[in-house]
């Protein structure tokens, strides 16, 4: 038995969809392997930093309804991402802060009040087998660990372990002074207006007719309920586009496809590596966390990046 083998947490309530995520599987797209990884990368990194993990360590990513776990060992935990109440044994606990969990204590993340996804980091990180170097659950292709189920027992790594010390783009780290606050990007209640995403030219922007990409700036889109880790599906005033077909070509994260019916598909981390609908625009990487936190029903608007792209 290894020293870390009794460091476990038990899932009391798995929530709508909770998965293990780290920085995903960059570099395997030519084999058809999606990038995957935490959708809100800054929230992932921040949660890890709060508990003293390397930024790339594996965490839990929830979806809308949170999660509840009991610690079966003493562990440091932190919750970041969407705005949600955090409870320890029923008592209010701090969001976005390192919190000591004693063995037997219940940590609950309630439903998100704005945003979609919470990140739970535990000191030592989630110790799940790596597939192609990553612990991420890839929901498109089924790589990595299964989504959490009630009653699951999950192992943690040793708190001084080296898991996740490499393989993550440190350039995505938030500034050290970023306060541990809930995301403000989402506006499910509509009170703060639509989420504005900065876009760049996609390779097939010339498939748009009429005002072209500027037509994207004029419209407003609604996040459809069938959005997931693969893509946000956006409904709105249909854009007029050229007819015809395109041979499948490589896709980047943030790529926006214009479907024949005028709807938009905005690809997130679990996107397929290739696709055949024209990519008219690409969301700026800095806006991908806001996409991750955009709730079904919330409004999206676009602004074309200044400069060449």
């Amino acid at each position: 038995m290894t020293a870390g083998s009794d460091r476990v947490i038990r899932v009391r309530r798995a929530g709508a969809l909770t998965t293990v995520q780290d920085c995903g599987r960059p570099g395997y797209a030519h084999l058809g392997v999606p990038r995957s990884g935490a959708l809100d990368a800054p929230a992932h990194h921040l949660a890890n930093r709060l508990v003293g993990n390397p930024p790339a360590a594996a965490v839990l990513e929830t979806t809308l309804t949170g999660v509840a776990i009991t610690a079966e060992c003493d562990v440091i935990a932190a919750v970041t991402g969407a705005a949600a109440a955090v409870r320890i044994d029923g008592q209010a606990a701090r969001f976005g802060a390192a919190t000591e969990l004693r063995r037997g204590q219940l940590l609950e993340v309630r439903s998100a009040t704005s945003g979609v996804r919470n990140y739970l980091a535990f000191s030592g990180g989630m110790a799940v087998p790596r597939v192609l170097g990553s612990a991420s659950a890839d929901l498109l292709s089924g790589l990595g660990p299964a989504r959490l189920a009630d009653g699951d027992v999950l192992r943690l790594g040793p708190p001084d372990g080296t898991d996740g010390r490499d393989g993550c783009a440190l350039g995505e780290l938030p500034d050290i002074a970023v306060p541990a606050r809930p995301v403000a990007a989402s506006s499910s209640d509509g009170a703060t207006g639509p989420v504005q995403l900065v876009i760049h030219l996609g390779p097939r922007f010339d498939w748009l007719l009429g005002p072209g990409l500027a037509g994207l700036e004029d419209g407003q889109w609604t996040v459809s309920p069938d959005s997931n880790r693969v893509a946000l599906r956006l409904a709105g005033q249909p854009l007029r586009r050229r007819r015809g077909e395109l041979a499948s070509e490589g896709l980047v994260s943030g790529a926006i496809q214009a479907l024949p019916d005028g709807h938009l598909v905005l690809f997130l981390a679990d996107h397929p590596t290739t696709g055949g609908y024209p990519v008219i625009a690409v969301v700026d990487p800095a806006c991908l966390p806001a996409c991750a936190q955009a709730r079904p029903g919330s409004k999206i608007s676009f602004r074309i990046a200044s400069g060449r792209n």
């Binding site: 058809g32 192609l132 070509e249 590596t273 700026d284 990487p285 990046a305």
Partner: protein, 205 residues
């Protein structure tokens, strides 16, 4: 060759034919092996394009690639892999009809062609194996199947594909193989990779 920006940090290079894609892709991989463009994270060859993801200066990279002389037909670069195939698929008759040959000839025609993996996509380890050019292209089924069994050997357009796991699919199934296309515990995980030459060997069902 046309260069299309794919957002702020990726470049889509478009060429006129699949052989040109394979030639360009081979050149890119040779350059990368020598340390070229170290920021590139993913290079995705497809039917008419090569996507370079992780580009810091799109203009500089485009003019550099434009200056290369890329032969129109690539030299064979990959390994040769034999795939033992039982030509017993449910769409043998439809493929025979499209090719204008008797169904019992499909195996001989298909296994007699030269095949090369053009790219992978759709699912981890799913190879798009080029080799049906020159009039052997195959139209997809009007209605995709909800579940194509793992190991199915199927034809679509100018490609042969092999399903690594059971998944929906609209290609015409001509046979099956026991080859394990994808095993994450194996290195490399994918049995077939872009550039590999594929020999289909007809084994009796």
């Amino acid at each position: 060759m046309r260069f299309r920006p794919a957002g702020p940090s990726a470049l889509l290079v478009e060429v006129d034919s699949l052989p040109r894609v394979r030639a360009l892709h081979a050149r890119i991989e040779r350059e990368r092996a020598c340390g070229w463009a170290p920021g590139l994270v993913d290079v995705i060859a497809a039917a008419r394009t090569v996507l370079l993801d992780g580009v810091t200066d799109q203009d500089a990279l485009a003019s550099e690639i434009r200056s290369w002389s890329v032969p129109p037909h690539p030299e064979a670069s990959g390994q040769v892999v034999e795939i033992a195939c039982r030509y017993d698929g449910p769409d043998l008759g439809e493929v025979a009809r499209q090719w204008g040959v008797p169904p019992e000839r499909v195996a001989a025609v298909h296994s007699g062609l030269a095949h090369e993996v053009a790219f992978c996509g759709f699912a981890p380890g799913f190879p798009y194996i080029a080799g049906l050019g020159g009039g052997r292209e195959v139209s997809r089924r009007d209605r995709p199947r909800a579940a194509v069994p793992a190991g199915s050997v199927a034809l679509g357009d100018e490609y042969t594909g092999i399903y690594p796991r059971t998944s929906p699919g609209g290609w015409q199934i001509i046979g099956h193989t026991d080859a394990v296309m994808w095993d994450p515990d194996r290195d490399p995980a994918a049995l077939l990779r872009p550039g590999d030459q594929v020999r289909f060997v007809n084994v009796m069902p």
